[in-house]
């Protein structure tokens, strides 16, 4: 019997609550101290089409979907045919014989435990709607997995209780019917889940939600955005908590407005953020450069999906790194951070707000559909050590002195660290014009070469100061002297950490060099890391090796090999390990 190590998958038509069912499934596991990682796939439509949601469960850590499926809930026949290749020997398929017969799907040569559950009949008997099939499926899944019903009960009560108590009752009856249909009825099924009571309780959270929480904790008071997958959920969540968290949320007429609004708010002294994807980001770039020129602190979530153009809206990619690094005309400093998992989404978003104000520049949170819309179980975030740093804002007393001496406040003063104190509209004596035009220390328009060059250099000095004081080296995961070092950025971390666990089981010597801080690149740390590495393989969700090229250009380091994927799907640990083995 294999306990607490398996992957559950549910498949069915879009529009029938598969996503919700997946989150509920994760939570039921997490309530029992298990660790989960959940990855949804769905097409860009509202009804019809094929949706899946898969959850990997582990006793200690789950960070990635895997290839093998151990329990499949097939809400239609297509779910079996589409995922037959993922079903491993001994896997179970929960299905309704009224939908299709077990012989129909082609699973030649595989030993499958067929688990018929008359979901449609149960629905009819209880007078429930079609969407409630999901609840029966959850019950049947946990019954088959020998998992205590009490956790299902707890989660369903919390989930539906908020909305309607009647729904709790109905769903519990349906879940129990599913549970009873499978519980201890399949002795030949070799997988089970067992609660681990001593494990600390986790939250189940998506990257989008973690980003939102990080921003809220950082004192973001204004969120302006236009809906665009995969970042729309940040807007929806912010709007939902707008009143509880005492913030202002603006769904704007377009992304240009969103970016310009947060720049206005940032200039006026409020921590502000927007979120979008490549298409929207393209529209924002002119204003992004203005934030660079006028030195306005702002935070932007740039959620990648496959391009070019509309590409594939609901799938994942890492193809916008270069676009982000070079966004907007001219040259100006910005910071680009690519958090790699749900925890990093929280902590780096928090950090982004401090950095934006400390260095008075745009900070980009570069993520992708994979980390934004995957739901991972994480320890509730520890906020006790987080500290707000608002950077150099001139004190009114200081301005009063300037006024008394009949001097002028120099908003863009040439300071050795490149950071001039800023005043906020409303402060007496702090008058200046935030401007997209090149300007002198006072903020007056200038086209004099020596003044222009001085301001240009001043802006870039901020990056030197950042590199001295707040820069983070790429982090190495795993044993220090491994035979192969995987190099990656952003969400690749999720899959690679699972790869490292898989490698350990197979006694393969490999570690992972993870890049979050991509701009400015900590060049010396990168060179040191590459000097320490033996063979390297750079893994990226794009065709042209955008990080690999950036590392070469900035740090003059080369990778031994690379692995690219750009078909909209995330990497799988098995395929990464396969490539690592070729380097040994």
């Amino acid at each position: 019997m294999i306990t607490n190590k398996l992957q559950w998958k549910i498949g069915g038509e879009a529009g029938f609550g598969i996503m919700t069912t997946g989150v509920i499934f994760s939570k039921i596991c997490t309530r029992g101290g298990l660790r989960t990682f959940a990855y949804p796939e769905y097409p860009s439509l509202i009804r019809g089409g094929h949706n899946t949601y898969q959850v990997t469960i582990d006793a200690q850590q789950a960070t990635s979907q895997i290839h093998n499926v151990h329990l499949l809930v097939a809400l239609n026949k297509a779910s079996v045919t589409a995922h037959a290749y993922e079903l491993m020997n001994g896997a179970a398929v929960i299905y309704d014989p009224a939908d299709f017969a077990e012989e129909a799907p082609n699973l030649v040569g595989k030993e499958i435990v067929w688990v018929p559950v008359a979901m449609n009949d149960i629905l009819k008997a209880k007078g429930a709607e079609r969407i409630a099939r999901n609840t029966i499926a959850i019950g049947a899944s946990f019954g088959l997995l020998n998992y205590p019903f009490e956790y299902i009960e707890q989660v369903l009560k919390d989930w539906f209780g908020v909305k309607k108590p009647k729904l709790v009752e109905d769903n519990l009856v349906l879940a129990k019917a599913g549970y009873d249909a499978t519980y201890q009825k399949y002795a030949n099924y070799q997988f089970q889940l067992e609660p681990i009571k001593e494990n600390a309780r986790h939250m189940v959270l998506s990257g989008n939600r973690a980003i939102a929480l990080g921003a809220l904790q950082a004192g973001m008071k204004f969120y302006a955005a236009y809906p665009m997958t995969p970042s729309s959920d940040i807007l929806g969540y912010m709007a939902k908590v707008e009143r509880d968290m005492n913030i202002v949320v603006k769904h704007t007429e377009d992304e240009i407005a969103a970016m310009n609004m947060i720049i206005g708010a940032g200039m006026a002294g409020v921590r502000a953020m927007t979120g979008t994807s490549g298409g929207g980001f393209a529209l924002m770039t002119e204003a992004l450069g203005m934030a660079g020129m006028a030195e306005v602190p702002i935070v932007t979530v740039m959620g990648q999906r496959p391009g070019p153009s509309t590409g594939m809206p609901t799938w994942t990619a890492q193809g916008d790194l270069r676009m982000t690094l070079h966004a907007s005309q001219g040259e100006y400093p910005m910071i680009v951070l690519a958090p790699g998992d749900i925890e990093e989404c929280f902590y780096y978003t928090y950090k982004a707000f401090n950095l934006a104000e400390q260095y008075q520049l745009p900070v980009i949170i570069l993520v992708d559909k994979y980390v934004q819309e995957s739901w991972q179980s994480v320890v509730p975030f520890d906020t006790s050590k987080l500290k707000i740093n608002r950077g150099k804002v001139v004190a009114q007393a200081e301005l009063d002195k300037i006024l008394a001496n009949k001097e002028k406040f120099l908003r863009y003063k040439l300071e050795p660290d490149g950071i001039s104190a800023r005043s906020l509209p409303g402060m007496a004596g702090g008058r200046y014009i935030a401007t997209s035009y090149e300007h002198d220390e006072y903020s007056t328009t200038t086209e004099l070469e020596h003044e222009v060059t001085a301001q240009y250099d001043k802006r870039f000095k901020k990056l030197d100061t950042f590199l001295r004081n707040d820069s983070e080296a790429p982090k190495l995961y795993g044993e220090p002297n491994a035979a192969v070092t995987i190099v990656g950025w952003g969400s690749t971390k999720l899959t690679v950490l699972e790869t490292l666990r898989l490698a350990k089981e197979q006694n393969i010597s490999v570690n992972y060099l993870h890049f979050v801080q991509i701009q400015p690149l900590p060049v010396q740390a990168v060179q040191q890391a590459f000097a320490n590495a033996k063979k390297t393989i750079c893994i990226e969700g794009n065709k042209t090796g955008q990080l690999e090229g950036w590392l070469k250009q900035q740090a003059d380091v080369k990778c031994t090999k690379s692995l690219h994927k750009y078909g909209g799907r995330p990497f799988y640990p098995e395929e990464i390990l396969e490539q690592v083995k070729k380097l040994l």
């Binding site: 008071k221 377009d254 240009i256 969103a258 310009n260 708010a265 200039m267 502000a272 997209s436």
Partner: protein, 288 residues
């Protein structure tokens, strides 16, 4: 607190052409600020790009010289961050009715307590004389050597059609006394105020000159048959352009303010919120 015109001065030197209507609009804004009597640091003037974009450098208030066409969202951001400021945007007809028209429609819909002054000279001046959205049809310019083909935008009519904006006026740069009072009224109005200002461009527009307007403009407030609270009358007057061109307030109403429905800024401006003691743990519950 009393402020004088001298207080509104800055050391920056205007770069406009001699006789440009922008000088008159600048003076109108300064006189309105003086008349309003609010400390100058409590005002913020947002500009776009174009000749008008330089204006805030010449007024001793805070300012944001932003991008071409983006004054409305930048102004909205500043206003939502600190709605206690007197927030004013200035821009040209190309900026506001061309590249920025989309933003303008939505900003009008929201009726926030802000003001927008459009320097409407019916031409692109800084780029040396191309036709603009308000150029009369058939006008020959650098980009329309055979005459412009489009029907011009009617800013007043467009604003009336938004159904959200609560103050719509037209001023004339050649009559600063009338203009500054309009601007003051717009600043003091609770809601979004649009003032379209007929602004002669002495270099590139040889049609809509000071004399052209002086012969034609009349003041709506001096016409007893007009009522600025009557939208139908305003709509009718918005179509008047030819022998007689109306200036003054076309429409003024008491409409709900967007920000009145934002609980977060009822007691304090957003910028006044303390962000050092935020506790998000209350939000964790739904994730467990």
């Amino acid at each position: 607190m009393t402020i004088s015109l001298t207080d509104t001065q800055t050391q920056a030197q205007p770069t406009w052409c001699p006789g440009c209507g922008d000088f008159r609009i600048l003076l109108g804004i300064k006189k309105a600020l003086v008349a309003m009597g609010k400390p100058l640091h409590a005002s913020c003037i947002i500009s776009g790009i174009g000749c008008s974009g330089k204006l805030n450098h010449y007024v001793n208030t805070y300012g944001f010289e932003s991008l071409h066409g983006r004054t409305q969202p930048v102004m909205t951001g500043v206003h939502l961050a600190n709605h206690k400021l007197n927030v004013v945007a200035v821009g040209g007809d190309g900026d506001g009715y061309g590249i920025g028209l989309g933003h303008l429609m939505h900003t009008m819909r929201r009726n926030m307590n802000m003001m927008y002054i459009v320097h409407d000279n019916q031409i692109y001046g800084l780029t040396t004389g191309q036709y603009s959205p308000t150029t009369r049809q058939g006008t020959k310019t650098a980009s329309s050597p055979f005459g412009s083909l489009e029907t011009p935008v009617n800013p007043v009519k467009l604003a009336l059609a938004s159904d959200g904006i609560s103050f719509i006026a037209r001023g004339f740069a050649g009559d600063v006394d009338h203009l500054y009072k309009l601007i003051q009224a717009g600043m003091e109005h609770e809601g979004f105020a649009l003032i379209d200002v007929l602004q002669p461009c002495t270099t590139f527009n040889k049609i809509n000159t000071y004399d052209f307007y002086k012969e034609r403009v009349y003041k709506l407030e001096e016409d007893a048959s007009f009522d600025k609270t009557n939208k139908d009358l305003a709509m009718k007057r918005s179509e008047e352009w030819g022998e007689r061109i109306p200036i003054g307030i076309f429409y003024q109403a008491n409409l709900p303010l967007y920000e009145a429905s934002l609980p977060a800024i009822q007691d304090k401006a957003l910028v006044e919120h303390d962000i050092n003691n935020i506790n998000i743990t209350g939000l964790y519950k739904e994730f467990i």
